[in-house]
Structures are given as C-alpha cells and as structure tokens.
Symmetry: C2
Subunit: 203 residues, 2 copies
DNA sequence: TCGCGATGTTTATGCCGTTAACATGACAAG
DNA sequence: CTTGTCATGTTAACGGCATAAACATCGCGA
C-alpha cells in the first residue's frame, strides 16, 4: 500500500484500535479545520479522504453521501453559533443593550467563520420545511430562532414583537452576508452603529 | 450526425446564417429561462449544450469557461434588478415612503427571481474588489449601491447617512435571503411592516 | 477457536469541465 | 468564379468528481 516494509500507516499513531481509529470524527475535524482556515474550502470526499490517508471511498462507511457529511459540519457550526450568541447574551445582561449585543455577536461570528456560516445557510436552504422532518438540522435552526425571539426585550404586542424580531434577524443576517460577499468592508464600529440604529430607536 | 438523410438540424429554423445562428445569445437566453423557472437550475455547460442541440464543447467558442457564462447571466440579472428598483423609486415618488418602497421592491424581486438573486450574490462574492478591476460585474454593483444611497432621503449628517443606508440595504437583503432559504414564509404584508419599522421611525 | 460484522480497498460507471485536433462553411481578396 | 482564411462547431481525450459493488481485513463476541 504505502511501501514494501515496515508498518502500514506512515506516521499515524500505533494505538489505532480499528483500521483507522475513528475516521468519522477525523473527517469532521478536518472539515471543520478547512472551514475555519480557508475561504473556499475543498470539502470533496476524495480530497478529504486523500489528506486523511485513506482510500477515496472509505468515508461511505460513515456517511451515506457527501451531503450527509456537509450536513454534519453545518450542524456543528450551527451549534457553535448558537453557543456564541448565548454567551454574548449572558455577558451583556438582558434588556435592550443585551439584545443589541447578540446581534453584533452574530455579525462578528460570521466574519470570523465565513465559510462555516455560508455552509450553514447553503445546507439549511435545502431541507424541506413542510415535511415533519425532525432532522437535527431543522431542529437546531428552530432553537436558534427561538433564542433570538426569547432574548427580544420590551413589552410590545405579539404581532409587533414578531415583526421586530424578524427585523433584527434580517438586519444582522443581511449585514453579515454583505460583509462576507465583500460588498462592504468590515468595520466593527460601523457594525455596532448600524445595529444600534434600530435597537435604540425603540420607543 | 442526426440522420442519414435530409437536413442536418432536426426542427431548427432553416434561416440560420451561420452554423447555429447566435449560439451565445441562445445559451444566455436558455440560462435565464432556467434561472426563472427552476429553483436549482442546472447550468452545466454540457447540459446547456445538450438542450441547445449542440455539441458539449461548442460553448467554449463564446465563453472562456463556465464561470464566464455564469458571470454574464449574473450581470444580466443585476441589470434587471437595478431596473426594477429604479422603476419602483419613480413610481413611489421620492421621500421616505418612496425609499421604503424601493426596499420592499428589492425583497419582492428576490422572491420572484430566487435562483437569479442567488447567482448574483454567489458570483459577486468571487470578484476581487481590491484590484482595479472594472469588470462589468463590479461596476454594476457599484451602480446598485449608488442608486440606493441616492434615493436615501433625509437631512442627516454624512456619517449618519452612511449608516442608515447600510442599515436599509442590510435589512432588505437579509430579509430576502431568509425568505429564499425558507427560514421565514413569504408574507407581503409582513415584509412591508418589517421594512417600515425602520424607515418610519426616522424622526 | 471461529466466524461475523464493521471498516477499508479496489474496481468500475457515468457525470462534469476543459483542452487539442480536426471539420465546416461564410465571406473577402484575387 | 476561385481560393484562402477565420469564426464556428465537432470529436476525442484527460483528469477529477460522486457513487456503487465486490472484495479484503481485522476486532470482538460466541
């Protein structure tokens, strides 16, 4: 396979319990690394398998297809995003300033994890919402939305509240996307200012 | 090629001046058709060529590569979007209500041309902004931004004005993207309400 | 000890974008 | 009218991709 003599794997740890150890985890880890370090990461099954020192089709023992692997990565990213927002909400304390801080955090997280955020929305756009599909993907996103709605302060009427939540989410998402697409340069002060325009004009 | 007898093209018009007539225009037209009628259009060179009744590599006489074809389609879409917004601005008259109407129009256009809007932003994200690249793509987008900024009413300080413009653009873009990704259902009344939250709170 | 199932490999199929070599046919120069 | 040239289109080929099927290997439990 690799050479005529010596052990099979080149430099890999010898304590591999199975053939590889834990290929699924290794693949996800490598995928997350690429999403974190590259702007347009190559997440092809062959490329991944190659750099994992494994044959081209080995990953099919752990994922039914490429989409499943991408979904798993997007799910992990969604979890991290929600976590960052929860931390920001706690750190800022409740109220209007806290809510604004959650929005700013969304944009900053997007800037720090551009490829991952893109993957998340690329994948979430392909799940069928009508079907009662409790796939982790849809559920995680429902959680994210719920989190936003819950942190929304104020004593508005339910309808106004829904509109305000949607407004806030749209604003930070659009701002993040425009920055990621290079349409506007990232300026933390500007981001904060733009987000606060809405939040602090409230009543 | 097609048969042993009769004319070469199956049912195509006989008045084709050249081999095909105008393959470039035909390819772009078919691409736009697919972008308009399909959610996830197949814009592969082979698929396009196949349905155009032409060999797989014929398009390379008119486009250096696939990206160039996609860029041409995105450029056309960008032009149509700008046109829609200009019309909306005129129809609504100036002032704050007119500006809000431009925003609503952006979202509605996105809903009516989802694949095309996606293509636009997918392509515009790949142009290098730093380089003095006066490619039609970058120029068209600068025009779009300028249009938004110009229609922005009010007598704010320049800095406030910039922030408000960015705010408005982010809001409608984010709203459009969330609808396209199926995160929120399209409701014209809700869209209008959400957009107006900002515009009309302006003192 | 043995075998079975999980994991990985090999091989193959059909798609894709892209290139190079060749064919065709419209139009201009002679 | 002839001829040549260039734009346009075709064929064949290369490498890469996702995926499937058949085969190989190894850990672990009966």
């Amino acid at each position: 396979m690799f050479g005529e003599e010596c052990s099979k794997p080149p430099i890999l740890p010898m304590n591999a319990p199975y053939h590889h150890g834990d290929l699924r985890a290794a693949a996800l880890e490598m995928g997350m690394e690429r999403l974190a370090s590259q702007v347009q990461p190559d997440l092809g099954l062959r490329a991944l398998a190659r750099d994992l020192g494994v044959s081209a089709t080995a990953l099919y023992r752990h994922f039914p297809n490429k989409d499943a692997l991408l979904d798993a990565l997007a799910l992990e990213g969604l979890d991290r995003l929600g976590q960052s927002q929860a931390e920001a909400a706690d750190a800022a304390g409740g109220g209007l300033p806290g809510f604004a801080e959650v929005g700013v955090t969304y944009v900053e997280w997007a800037v720090q994890h551009p490829a991952l955020l893109r993957l998340i929305y690329a994948r979430v756009g392909k799940v069928d919402l009508a079907t009662p599909d409790p796939s982790a993907m849809g559920e995680a996103f429902r959680q994210l939305r719920k989190g936003i709605a819950e942190k929304m302060p104020g004593d508005l009427a339910p309808e106004e509240r829904a509109a305000a939540t949607l407004h806030a989410w749209s604003l930070v998402h659009g701002l993040a996307m425009l920055i990621l697409d290079g349409q506007i340069e990232y300026d933390p002060a500007m981001v904060r200012k733009v987000v606060l325009i809405t939040e602090f004009r409230d009543s």
